[in-house]
């Protein structure tokens, strides 16, 4: 099995969200960056489990600047074999997808695994775009993946339940909770990661399709109104008369 895992960099969930340069840039001051959780816990770990059981190779791919290297090293420390960074700005989803597809198109990957969404952009679109650009089947929101004699069986979230699908040949998936359990890298993995190959390739020429105008913070919430626990029933009247939600 030759597996490609696409990982994106994201600010730690507890980061303070603020902007600079006239609200056009995320303020990275003091922000800790992590591997996007869906990419790491679910896509990468399941890819490693499959490799450990059946042999093969797990390659990490990121589209981004040199600031991506610490998180790529973390993915290598968890157990990926090698990594590629496409040296391009992650300006918009279609642009990123074109970079991934252009790199992957002639490498013969059996599976291209992504996370279900990035926790900063919340797009949930890059893997579907990659699938279309490569003309491959796409299984979004996959919670289970097994591969047996060249046939992959997956479960994906659908309205009101799960759909079980079988696919032969190469495909793209986006991983959601349930696919695997988080792994903590150990000292040996961290040492080994330092010497694993990390290839940097130049960006492919592509146009961008969207651009950021500005960021804004949501309007501040008003103060919480407290209702006495003894008079808890009053809440129902307030929800009807004041909040007008029931």
């Amino acid at each position: 099995m030759k597996i490609l895992v696409c990982i994106s960099k994201a600010p730690d969930t507890t980061s303070k969200i603020a902007f600079t340069e006239g609200n056009t840039k995320f303020d990275e001051n003091g922000v800790q960056f992590i591997v996007n959780p869906y990419d790491e816990w679910y896509a990468l770990v399941r890819a490693l489990e499959i490799k450990e059981a059946q042999g093969g190779n797990v390659t990490i791919l990121s589209v981004g600047g040199a600031d991506y290297e610490p998180i790529i090293r973390k993915a290598l420390a968890i157990g990926a074999d090698d990594a590629v960074r496409i040296d391009a700005q992650e300006s918009d989803s279609l642009y990123v997808a074109k970079q991934i597809a252009e790199y992957a198109k002639d490498k013969g990957f059996d599976i291209i695994m992504c996370g279900k969404e990035t926790i900063n952009y919340n797009g949930s679109v890059v893997p579907g775009m990659v699938a279309e650009l490569l003309d491959l089947p796409y299984i979004p929101l996959a919670v289970k993946l097994d591969v047996n004699a060249g046939v992959a069986t997956l479960e994906r979230e659908v309205n009101g339940g799960l759909e079980v699908v079988e696919v032969t040949g190469s495909f793209v998936l986006s991983a959601a909770k349930g696919m695997a359990e988080q792994r903590i890298p150990n000292m040996r993995g961290i040492m080994a990661a330092r010497t694993k190959p990390l290839q940097v390739v130049p960006a492919f020429a592509a146009e961008t399709s969207t651009k950021l105008v500005s960021y804004d913070l949501p309007p501040a919430k008003g103060a919480c109104k407290y209702i006495d626990a003894e008079q808890a029933g009053d809440l129902i009247r307030i929800l009807h008369e004041e909040a007008k939600v029931i």
């Binding site: 969930t13 919480c224 109104k225 909040a243």
Partner: protein, 320 residues
């Protein structure tokens, strides 16, 4: 020119999120002086109520039942070409997240996933979306001539005063796929409101102590006509099914009302619910962080507060 909207149905009905996308697309068509065309698959009764929601024309691919992203995107692309659509709309639901990215890549169109506003009425095609799990809003401009948008559920009201729309049969070559559906495992219970579509949600966390105590949560939800949800540890230990888990690693919801009972309000939990219009927090710890995100708070023991709420909800229902 036209605006094409793909409306997904479930058990032959159009969920609220699909109707929102139809009304949103109709508003864009009206502002651009073009026609709103809705594409649907499977059997349709009349115009399916889509005209009321704003469709001026309905295309029905009645023989299509596939759930394969490749085939469905070929259908949408064919309809977009046949209708000369320059704006294509989906809901940011399971179907939209699956098909829209493929359509955008095929048409080389810029895509705004999870839009929360109409495009700016003048000048460039600019739209807002939530980023950083609801902690900020970004305004983005689409710079390509064709545009694809997925609309975040519960961010646009459904129109109800439209005219019945003419329905035309639609067909396209769906091509092959190497994907086979083996089985669908339904987790739906009779009469249960699916969480992503619910307007009202009652949710509980580890403060409830054990699965045997969920009866009062379900009763309150039932009295309010609400869906039930839970925090992550609760689904991880198996007290509640996984599809109820909301938050950063679970599902994101934006109901009109979110009642959180015995949930501390960790940032990863808030990420999934902070788009709710009204938030009520019930917690025995006055220092619980959730109160900072709440509109209404009750400091008290859930086992004493909930029976009072259930009683009041029953009285309210009886008086309606």
């Amino acid at each position: 020119m036209s605006v094409l909207i793909y409306a997904d149905s479930h058990h032959g009905k159009f969920p609220k999120s699909s109707l929102e996308a139809v009304s949103y697309g109709a508003a864009i068509a009206a502002s651009r002086g073009t026609t709103s065309v809705v594409l649907t698959i499977g059997t349709l009764q009349g115009d399916g109520g889509l005209g009321k929601a704003g469709a001026q024309k309905v295309l029905n691919a009645s023989s299509v039942h596939t759930t394969d992203s490749q085939q469905l995107s070929r259908l949408v692309v064919a309809a977009a070409q046949a209708q000369n659509a320059d704006v294509i709309i989906f809901s940011h639901d399971i179907a939209g997240k699956m098909i829209a990215p493929r359509v955008a890549a095929r048409l080389d169109a810029g895509l705004i996933p999870g839009a929360t506003s109409l495009p700016a009425s003048e000048g460039a095609f600019k739209i807002k979306k939530n980023v950083f799990s609801g902690k900020a809003i970004a305004e983005l401009e689409v710079t390509t001539s064709k545009k694809v948008i997925t609309l975040l559920p519960n961010s646009f009201s459904v129109k109800t005063d439209g005219q019945d729309a003419p329905v035309e049969a639609f067909q396209a070559d769906l091509g092959n796929t190497t994907l086979k559906v083996k089985e669908v495992k339904s987790e739906e219970k009779e009469g249960e409101i699916p969480l992503p579509e619910a307007d009202l949600v009652v949710s509980a966390g580890r403060g409830l102590k054990g699965p045997e105590n969920w009866g009062i949560v379900e009763t309150l939800a039932h009295e309010l006509g609400a869906a039930t949800a839970c925090s992550r540890p609760v689904s991880d230990i198996g007290w509640r099914p996984h599809h109820e888990h909301v938050g950063q690693t679970g599902i994101t919801i934006r109901p009109n009302l979110y009642i959180a009972i015995g949930i501390s309000g960790a940032i990863q939990h808030l990420a999934g619910v902070n788009g709710s219009k009204t938030i009520v927090v019930i917690n025995k710890d006055p220092e619980a962080p959730f109160f900072k995100a709440a509109d209404y708070g009750i400091v008290g023991d859930a086992f004493e507060v909930l029976p009072k709420l259930i009683e009041a909800a029953k009285a309210y229902n009886a008086s309606k």
